[in-house]
Subunit: 225 residues, 2 copies
DNA sequence: GTCTATAAGATGATAGAC
DNA sequence: GTCTATCATCTTATAGAC
């Protein structure tokens, strides 16, 4: 995703409904905050990515912090929506084929099935680096009074969704989260950049991502700078 | 760890050997970079934490980036030293008592034993938030040309150490790393701040940290700001 | 080895025009 | 709804004294 072209830079001064512009800015902000972090991102970078002026970004969201919070909420929302729809589809019997394709080595029973299905859904979702990295950025914001609090709420919310709403139980949820965190780290680190060049990186990626690796490598991941 | 008192602020203008001052600055830099990240940290904050002037920090390390790299290397070094010494002690039979105390539910055999022992060593090491958070900061620096490259090298180095040098094998190493990443996330997020106040947070912490939880809660974790 | 002074360049946010 | 101009602040790094 090329940050500088989230929207057409030539198309300035185009009036548009506030809600539409809002979403456009949030998408741009997600991409920039994701790579550069809260402190490392300037409102001018977000503005450029969204194709509008810097003061307008501030005008629309009040402060940089509020903009970050909205972008984080948006990512968390997409994640929870994705998980909820998998659970609903599984319970509605609409994933019977996918379940059959999983094979027995991933375990049997509802919890094991959900774990595998949700893991695929997650790998799918985080093909959008923006979403994944917004989460990662939130994880390291524990010390920030406002953002940190929201980050904790978000994480606990996902844990509850998985353990209680989806009914995966304590241990399965923990293992699911643990492997998710490892996937996060490998992607965030851009370990895929070393794929084919470093035997250790290759094996770690294969072993961690399994059948989901091709999805990752398909990424165009231009080193933003 | 109170950032503002890593060294005595009153003790200015005390001459000391360059190497000693270097280590002092690196320790201060680790604490500050850890909480606020690379972009969010100013050289003035590091200077204050180290009890010296801002220009002297720059003078000694050249640039903020070089300072960060040295602090990261220092943390990575401590981590690898810790892991290597566990492996050496295990193979030297010097951990027989600890192994016996593990109980059978953690598995038997060299790999399972090492996994459990290393996991305790890790929990011990990251009682120093600085080390853990420096690693986390490096994980999200994938897009930075210099820091990102070092971060990838460091991660692959640890993977190799565990898999090959320690002989834990692919799957066990992956699971070890995965659960380590989850621990990292919970600590970095300061989820312990919610302990006793949020049932979800409590159960996630207990389930993830197991016997290592008391270690975590013992922390004085003043919300730096 | 360590400091003070300061240059040179961002950056978040506000004011006010169109 | 959107922009231009601009302020006040902060930040890295350099120069040079002690």
């Amino acid at each position: 995703m090329d940050i500088s072209s989230v929207s057409d830079p030539a198309a300035r001064l185009v009036r548009m409904p506030a809600q539409e512009r809002r979403e456009l800015i949030l998408e741009a902000a997600t991409a920039v905050f994701a790579e550069r972090g809260y402190a490392g991102t300037t409102t001018a970078q977000v503005a450029q990515a969204a194709g509008i002026s810097q003061p307008y970004v501030v005008r629309m969201f009040g402060t940089k912090e509020k903009l970050f919070l909205e972008a984080l909420d948006r990512s968390l929302g997409k994640l929870m929506d994705s998980f909820r729809s998998v659970v609903a589809d599984y319970d509605g019997g609409r994933l019977a084929e996918k379940v059959a394709a999983l094979g027995p080595e991933r375990g049997t029973g509802r919890q094991a099935h959900l774990k595998a299905l949700l893991s695929f859904a997650y790998a799918d979702l985080i093909q959008d680096r923006g979403i994944l990295l917004m989460l990662m950025q939130s994880f390291i914001s524990g010390h920030e009074p406002v953002i940190g609090a929201r980050a904790r709420e978000g994480f606990v919310g996902i844990y509850r969704l998985l353990r209680d709403e989806a009914g995966m139980g304590e241990e399965v949820t923990r293992d699911f989260l643990a492997h998710g965190m490892l996937m996060n780290t490998l992607i965030s680190l851009r370990l895929t950049d070393l794929y084919g060049q470093d035997a250790g990186a290759d094996e770690l990626l294969k072993c961690t991502m399994g059948a989901k690796l091709p999805l990752l490598l398909a990424h165009e991941t231009p080193r933003a700078n």
